[in-house]
Each structure stands twice: as structure tokens, then as C-alpha cells.
């Protein structure tokens, strides 16, 4: 009852006019980002990080959260109508969503995607409300060795489950943690890798790095991209029929459960949840041959799963202070900018923020359902805006974001450097997510390791003598070393199969 009471209070907090306004801006912007191919939620959040200095903490965080789940809604619109996924998490929706649109059933496809997203997001939210505080209680038992082992486990999980070769992902994670060590040493205050450059004394800031990696590099990659054929037929009948509901009820239920579970596990992500949900539906369907040819179950399950996973993905961050990917790393950074330390004490020390954020997700999901169906016409028009009008604006916002955060052009230069680096990383198939996670958790990991070693007078065995730390270290070592023993990543072939529908 306490949890439901706190959640109700959170909804009331989120319903204040200012929070509603920021929440509305977030979900609207998120949907726009989801609709537009070429700029994902990570890029949008990166561009908005400098605003953290001026906006009230809760309202600002509500907006950022709104962007993340709003993007899931928006991504489905382009998948269904244009066969271009606005987001990676909507790739699988293209198969049956676009097929439905071509059969004149774009309305029910869009409708079931919106309803499924609403149901998945809302149910997952209740799950987060119960699970996150319980995990945080467990986290209170953590000392420096346990925290170091947990962070190492989170980083390793992301590396292990990376799409490309594991060594490349590991290189990026290590490079990110090296970048994090630029500036003053957190323990002794000694300058490290500053090379007498004044801008580097404060370290390499998260804001210019992620603006470069996710904002500028996306533009550089997409300069050659062209928009696909936009579905021109008039869309009517957005409400699914009774038969559509019958066909979608169980896929929505299974998508919610699967999405919630996959999203809550560090290293697994929203994209994997959608592919897994689709694969499960196809496997147990009596008519698997209909999948890919306009089966509504093929839209309902992944669209539900992506919102459920997007919601439960916050559990490791909000309960244990463990970011699990680019977006959660950026939110971690935003929390730090506001002096809110994510970790086991976060819920206890900042209950208004935690419950307010959960409350805002409940309101935001409802807002998206009410807003999105009538606004589909607008999103189609947005899709028709040529990219050559959009990219100068993204570049401009990138520069302004970096400049206003620091008040000098030094950070703009960092944006340019990481814009080019991000472009090269995409060309050479290096994922940016492990690098961003390394950059964000690098200082925390270093401090926790050094404190642990001080506690143990330099003996690394401290990480294996305490049960919780030993568990996470064991899991991390297993993930790192198993490819050497088995020549493959355990379970990775399953994920790869899932991603080949």
C-alpha cells in the first residue's frame, strides 16, 4: 500500500503545472525525435543537457524521461507509414506495420501500437515502483568493493552484449574510462593528462562529448540519406476492431512481461526486447506464415515490449546507480549536474524526484495516447521536411548547447572532435555506448576501486572475499573470459538469431 500511496503522490507532484508543461514538452519532443530518422533520444538528451543548469531539477528530468519513452511512440509511426524506423527499437515493427499500411490498415496498426505502448509502459511502471525500492534496500548494504564490482559488472554486461565484436566494445569502454581520468585526480587533486591545456583541467565534459557523438556524428552519417516513400493513402479508422483486440490481447500481455524483464537486465536493451517479443509471437502463432505480411500481433507485441523495456530500463539506474546504456548514462549525468547522486540512497534521499518521475511516466503515457493518434497527420508532414533544412539546425543546436554550457569555444572544439570521432566510429563499426558508459562511470569506478584497495591495504582479494562483490566480479569475469573458452559469447547467438526475423 505504501508503494501505491507513494506512486499516487508522485502522480500528484508530476501533475503540477510546471511539471506538466515540461512533461508535455518532453513527450512531444520525444515523439518528434522518434519520427525523424537521424537523431535519436540520446542525441536529443545530449543537446538538452546544457539546459540542466537553468531548469528546476524534477521538471527537467521529467522532460528528459518524456523524450525517452516519447521516442518509442514516434518511432512506430515512421515504421508503419514509411517503412523507415525512426528508432532502432521500431525496426521490427516495419515488417508487419508497413505491410498492414499497404493493405489499407495503417489506422489499426498505428492504433494498436499506441494502445500497446500505453499498456506496456503503464504496467511496467507499476513494476518499477515495486522493484526499484526493494533493490535499493539491497544496495544499501554495498560498500566500496561491492559498488566497484557492480559498476564493473554493468560495464562488462554492456560490452558482452554489444552488437559487434566484443574486443571493439571493450576498447571503447576502456577509452571512455581513460577520458574520464583527464583532469584533476579525485583523491589527490593532481592534474592528469591535462597537457597544460586550461580547458582540460576540469576534465572532458560529458555534455560536449555526447553532443559530438550523438548529435554531430548523426548528421555526418545521414548527409547522404534520403527519405523513403511516404504512405500517401488517407488514414482512417485508428481504433482497432474487436477482432484486432482479440488477436492482440495476448501478444500485448506477453510483450509487457517480456519487455519488462529484458529491460530490467543490465546490458540487454529495448531493441533486444522488441526482437524477442516478435520472435516469441511468431514461434507460438498458429499462423506463423502471416508474420511479415501484415499480422497485427507482429505490431502489438514489439511495440508493447519496447515501451515496457524502456520503462523497466530505469530500475538499475534509479535503484543502484548503475547506468546501462547511452540514454541512462546521459540521465545519470543530468542527475549529477543537479547534485543528485544516483545510487541506493537516491530513493531515500530524493523521494520527491523518484516518485515524481514515476508519476510523470504515468501521465506522460496517457498524454502520448491522447496526443499521438490525432497528431499522426502532423507527424507525416514533419517527415516531409527535407533533411537539408534539418541538419543545419541540429548542428546549430549542438554548437549553442556546448557554448552555453561552458561559456567558451573550448567545448565547441571538443564537440567537433567527438563529432568526427563518432562519425569514424560508425564507419568502422565501433559502438559509442560503451565509451559513454565508461566516461560516466569511470570516476565512480576508479574511486570505488581505490577506496577498496585502501581498505584492504592493497590486496585485490577484497573483491572476492565479500559475497556480493564476489558474485558481481565472478559474473563480470565469466562474461569477459567465456569467449576465450567457448569461442563464442554465451547466449549471444540467441540474440543474433532473434535479430534475424
Amino acid at each position: 500500500m505504501d508503494t501505491l500511496h507513494s506512486l499516487a503522490l508522485g502522480i500528484l507532484t508530476a501533475a503540477s503545472p510546471l511539471n506538466l508543461l515540461y512533461g508535455f514538452a518532453g513527450v512531444l519532443l520525444g515523439t518528434l525525435i522518434g519520427v525523424l530518422p537521424g537523431l535519436g533520444p540520446a542525441g536529443a538528451i545530449a543537446l538538452l543537457l546544457p539546459l540542466a543548469l537553468h531548469a528546476p531539477p524534477l521538471a527537467y528530468l521529467i522532460m528528459l524521461f518524456g523524450i525517452t519513452y516519447g521516442a518509442q511512440y514516434g518511432g512506430s509511426t515512421t515504421s508503419i507509414l514509411v517503412n523507415i524506423p525512426g528508432e532502432a527499437s521500431s525496426v521490427i515493427t516495419c515488417l508487419d506495420g508497413y505491410a498492414m499500411a499497404r493493405q489499407g490498415r495503417a489506422g489499426p496498426a498505428l492504433g494498436i501500437a499506441a494502445f500497446g505502448s500505453f499498456i506496456g509502459g503503464t504496467v511496467a511502471l507499476v513494476g518499477v515502483a515495486f522493484l526499484a525500492p526493494a533493490l535499493a534496500e539491497l544496495g544499501l548494504r554495498f560498500g566500496p568493493p561491492e559498488y566497484a564490482a557492480l559498476l564493473l559488472f554493468g560495464l562488462t554486461a554492456l560490452v558482452y552484449l554489444a552488437h559487434g565484436p566484443m574486443d571493439k566494445a571493450l576498447l571503447m569502454a576502456l577509452f571512455g574510462s581513460l577520458l574520464a581520468s583527464v583532469g584533476l585526480d579525485p583523491v589527490t587533486g593532481q592534474p592528469r593528462f591535462t597537457f597544460d591545456i586550461l580547458v582540460l583541467r576540469d576534465g572532458v565534459g560529458l555534455t560536449p562529448v555526447v553532443i559530438g557523438l550523438f548529435g554531430v556524428s548523426e548528421v555526418l552519417v545521414n548527409l547522404h540519406a534520403h527519405a523513403g516513400e511516404i504512405f500517401q493513402k488517407k488514414i482512417k479508422g485508428l481504433l482497432p476492431t474487436l477482432q484486432d483486440w482479440k488477436d492482440s490481447a495476448m501478444p500485448i500481455t506477453r510483450g509487457t512481461v517480456l519487455g519488462f524483464l529484458v529491460g530490467a537486465i543490465p546490458g540487454l536493451n529495448v531493441v533486444i526486447a522488441t526482437f524477442a517479443a516478435y520472435a516469441v509471437e511468431k514461434k507460438i502463432s498458429k499462423h506463423p506464415e502471416k508474420f511479415g505480411r501484415g499480422a497485427i500481433e507482429g505490431v502489438a507485441a514489439p511495440e508493447t515490449a519496447n515501451n515496457a523495456a524502456s520503462c523497466s530500463g530505469w530500475i538499475p539506474l534509479l535503484s543502484l546507480g548503475l547506468p546501462t546504456g547511452s540514454v541512462t548514462s546521459l540521465i545519470f549525468g543530468a542527475l549529477m549536474i543537479h547534485g543528485l547522486a544516483p545510487g541506493p540512497l537516491f530513493i531515500k534521499n530524493s523521494p520527491d524526484i523518484f516518485w515524481g518521475l514515476l508519476g510523470s511516466m504515468a501521465i506522460g503515457n496517457a498524454m502520448l495516447l491522447i496526443l499521438n493518434l490525432p497528431l499522426i497527420g502532423l507527424w507525416i508532414r514533419v517527415l516531409q521536411v527535407p533533411y537539408y533544412f534539418l541538419f543545419p539546425l541540429i548542428i546549430l543546436f549542438s554548437i549553442i548547447g556546448a557554448y552555453t554550457a561552458a561559456g567558451n569555444t573550448g567545448d565547441v572544439v571538443i564537440v567537433i572532435i567527438f563529432g568526427v570521432a563518432g562519425y569514424l566510429m560508425k564507419k568502422f563499426a565501433y559502438e559509442p555506448a560503451p565509451m559513454v558508459l565508461g566516461l560516466v562511470i569511470g570516476p565512480l569506478l576508479e574511486t570505488a576501486i581505490r577506496r577498496s584497495l585502501i581498505m584492504s591495504k592493497g590486496h585485490v582479494t577484497i573483491f572476492f572475499q565479500r559475497p556480493i562483490a564476489a558474485f558481481f566480479m565472478g559474473a563480470a569475469l565469466l562474461m569477459l573470459l567465456s569467449p576465450l573458452l567457448t569461442r563464442r559469447r554465451l547466449g549471444h547467438d540467441i540474440i543474433e538469431k532473434l535479430e534475424e526475423p
Binding site: 577509452f175 537539408y388 543545419p392 549553442i400 565547441v412 572544439v413 591495504k457 592493497g458
Partner: protein, 152 residues
């Protein structure tokens, strides 16, 4: 393969220089980890992975990387975008936010998107004025005024 050798060489160079610098910072003093320990371990690990990748790519002895079609024109566009951003960063204080924004957008539309002058100039002017209103007037972001400081 050539490309992989170049990339691995970059990682190796980075690893060598940063591990030397980390060692210089100090790895430990009397059972207390020093400021160089953590970056030293990370730099050494980068070096080991780079060597592993280099050896693997040499063993495979695959033919030279194919030249991607259209890469030259793509590189040209990328260079234009970066050149515009760099010029913007260095001219911002001198020319001011309004004028720089106008020039940047006009440059991108004319050179990269090959739009006609009327569309280029009108869109660039609209973006410059709108962003001045939004960031300077509404958000009071105090962007540099430069040459136009007497006017705005």
C-alpha cells in the same frame, strides 16, 4: 586489412603514450593506489586488445579494403560540415552570434544542399533571427554580440 592496421596502430600509440604518462603520475605509494594506477591499467588493456586485433587481422591476410563507392563525395560533405563548425567556433566572438549563425546556415544550404540563393538567404535569415530571439532574448543565454554589439 590496411585499414585495420592503421586503426590498431592508433590504439597502440595511444596505449603507449598514456601508459608512460600514467606511470609518471605514480602507480602506488605505501599500499595506497596512486593517481596513475587506474589509467595505467586501462591504457595497458587497450594496448593488449590492439595487439590481439592486429595479430588476428594479419593472420586472416584478407585482401585490401575495397574503396567504398561514393566515399569521396561523402568525405567532401563531412569536411564542409566540419569546416563550417570550426569557422563558427573561431569567429563567434568576433562576428557575434546573429551574424555567425546566418553565415553558417547560408553556407550549409548553398554549398552542401545546393539550394538557390533566395531560399538560402531567406532560410538563413529566418534561422538567425529566430535563434537570436529564442536564445538571447527569451532564454537570456548571453551569446556573443561581436560586430553587431552596437545594434542588439
Amino acid at each position: 586489412m590496411k585499414r585495420e592496421i592503421i586503426i590498431c596502430s592508433f590504439w597502440l600509440l595511444l596505449s603507449c603514450s598514456l601508459s608512460i604518462e600514467s606511470y609518471r603520475l605514480g602507480l602506488s605509494t605505501a599500499n595506497r593506489p596512486g593517481p596513475g594506477l587506474f589509467p595505467f591499467i586501462a591504457a595497458i588493456a587497450i594496448g593488449l586488445i590492439a595487439v590481439f586485433r592486429l595479430v588476428s587481422s594479419l593472420r586472416k591476410s584478407s585482401p585490401d579494403d575495397n574503396f567504398e563507392p561514393g566515399i569521396a563525395s561523402e568525405t567532401r560533405l563531412v569536411l564542409y560540415v566540419i569546416a563550417g563548425m570550426t569557422a563558427y567556433a573561431f569567429l563567434l566572438d568576433l562576428l557575434g552570434f546573429l551574424f555567425c549563425t546566418f553565415l553558417l546556415v547560408a553556407f550549409y544550404l548553398r554549398v552542401i544542399a545546393a539550394r538557390r540563393w533566395p531560399a538560402t538567404l531567406s532560410f538563413a535569415a529566418a534561422v538567425a533571427l529566430a535563434s537570436h530571439f529564442f536564445f538571447d532574448v527569451l532564454l537570456k543565454a548571453e551569446m556573443p554580440r561581436g560586430l553587431l554589439s552596437w545594434l542588439i
